[in-house]
Symmetry: none
Subunit: 207 residues, 4 copies
């Protein structure tokens, strides 16, 4: 589980690292963010809760956001092990997209994940380094699944061959993310379905 290595003067020897502390820090960080939110979570608080010296956190991470990101990645890695290396492919692209987008809606609405995900995303919006890492490790792998499914659909003749899947997928995740991040309108299954319809067939009138 690679970490956002601290950029300070001397690099510590990672072979001698305490796995026990690493785990305790992750657990404490996630728990605290869930309980009091990211803003009121402090490095000091994480250290205290993890039964760890502050220095042990600063030795391995440059900021509390980096800690949380690694904790989150660790969590996601655990969850990813058992499952979903690919989007469903029943042959019906619209149905498959509806399934996935509905699942995404449910996940985004799940209060357990909301706080840390929002915190991390917001931090990434403002901190390019952290954001890049967030995208590279978490977001892009997910988007790649969409791209793959769309490519399969192209092979099956369900999607225009001149369409760039990497761009097309944003028609689905872009609006969803927009609603969720900015809270402009409620995120519902109905919205997911509507989105699939619009994006798949466009909004222009047919002659």
């Amino acid at each position: 589980m690679a970490e956002t290595t601290a950029a300070s003067g001397r690099t510590p020897d990672s072979t001698r690292r305490s796995e026990r502390s690493r785990r305790a820090i992750f657990d404490a960080a996630l728990a605290l963010v869930g309980e009091v939110g990211f803003a009121r979570t402090t490095v000091e608080g994480i250290a205290a809760r993890a039964g760890v010296g502050k220095q042990t956190i600063y030795r391995w991470w440059p900021s509390k956001a980096a800690v949380l990101l690694d904790a989150y990645l660790d969590l996601a890695a655990g969850a990813a092990e058992d499952g979903e290396a690919a989007l469903p492919d029943t042959g019906d692209l619209a149905a498959d997209l509806r399934t996935v987008l509905r699942a995404t809606v449910d996940e985004l609405n799940d209060p357990r994940y909301e706080a840390p995900t929002r915190a991390l995303t917001a931090e990434g919006v403002v901190d390019p380094v952290l954001g890049a890492r967030f995208v590279e490790r978490l977001l892009e792998p997910q988007l790649e699944l969409y791209a793959r499914r769309l490519r399969a659909a192209q092979d099956a003749g369900d999607v225009r061959p001149d369409v760039d899947p990497r761009v097309a997928l944003e028609l689905f995740v872009g609006p969803l993310t927009h609603r969720w991040l900015l809270r402009t309108r409620p995120l519902t299954h109905a919205y997911a379905d509507e989105l699939v319809g619009y994006a798949l067939h466009g909004i222009a009138a047919r002659p």
Copy 2:
């Protein structure tokens, strides 16, 4: 220009308020966020730079984010005075959308606005109250312009009548925002054009 009024015990008498200080605070806030970023901008710093007592800030705003939001709204109000109460309507919907989206791309890429816009958006992602205000005062009015243009296109028979403009517009702004906030891919005019094409006509193959 209404402020996010401080919610503390006694409401101050706004008629006696110093306009001079208000302006100085806005200027200082925007300047500091531009120079050192939102995170390293402090209320103390704003006060010092504005030549103002800290209490004068705390009297009128509940947080530095609220100050920045009002400063930003003030800025936007000034900019909005001269112009764009509506999206262009040349009769060619695709062309008009390309124009607008390209302009948006340019704006988002403008380093002058980047820091404060990102800061406010990120803050809104995490703080629902601030986010709501941000959306209500800044985002929704802009989205309404899209909705209006799409409704006109429906009247002209260029957009399917069963399409909900408020949802459809997210096909354009959603992906754009997604790229900008998360920095997944560069934001270019070519992308804006591609997006208009995809969203307008869908990605599904035609039989």
Copy 3:
């Protein structure tokens, strides 16, 4: 009660200073040094005990030693108010010196004063600035009393007129201090008497 003004960037406005805090800090500092010793007394501890922010200490003093010195001076000033502006002068120089030196022995042996006095002295040995202040405010005024008494004795013909009182007085306080600081031998009344005997006949006029 002048303080060892902090040498940091901006000098605080001493007219707005909280007398309440000043007193609480002195009390806490003296209490802690008495209870756990100087080395294990911390600025943090003083602040906590005094119910004061750390910054309030750092605003007015550059180090814990400076705090303790001022606390000590404040104490001494309080004690000095009621009393001893001069050494006793019964006409019998030897007896008077014995009285004073015995009292000094008792004071140095008093466990209540021992810890802070040793701490302060040791700190002054190593920190010239603090030491100078210690000497100027506490030690020299006391030594001046000796000098005055010796001058009176010269006037009375009990001390050789060519003797420099400021040097002569060190024959008494030097050895006493030496024993106390370095703990070479026990400090007793007998020693005080012996010292007076030895030193006095060196400077006493011969008939």
Copy 4:
């Protein structure tokens, strides 16, 4: 050269000890105290400079003061080898004392020795165990030289037979130390001479 043995649970096997490390630690300790002072010298710093593990220091000494003391004793032992097992005895007590006291003044004023000597003395003032060791190993042997010379003077009839040499010697070293430690007045040869004059006639036999 005996060390202030660490008092921890298991005593290490001193026969397997690295002489190389011991010397390196002494050198590093003395160098650091000379360069940055005792307070800012750290065990970690000594270890790093000596190219030694921290544990190697903690294995053999209980504190940095103890390390410095041993380093100092080691130094003094080297210096003592070539010389002065006794005070000069030309038959003229006053002259001999002046010689010795002037040499002491020079030594105390030597900036090379000032930092470590002050540091050790100050530490001994506050730490009775260390102080006792300092006195026993360094101070008392020197004082004994004075006592011996005074006894010789008594035998020669130059000093009153009822005088206790161990007390009398403090008339010389006490005031000198007082001036040096507390920096009340400059330490000069003239002062040394004056001191001898004052003190000596106090203890000299009367014709």
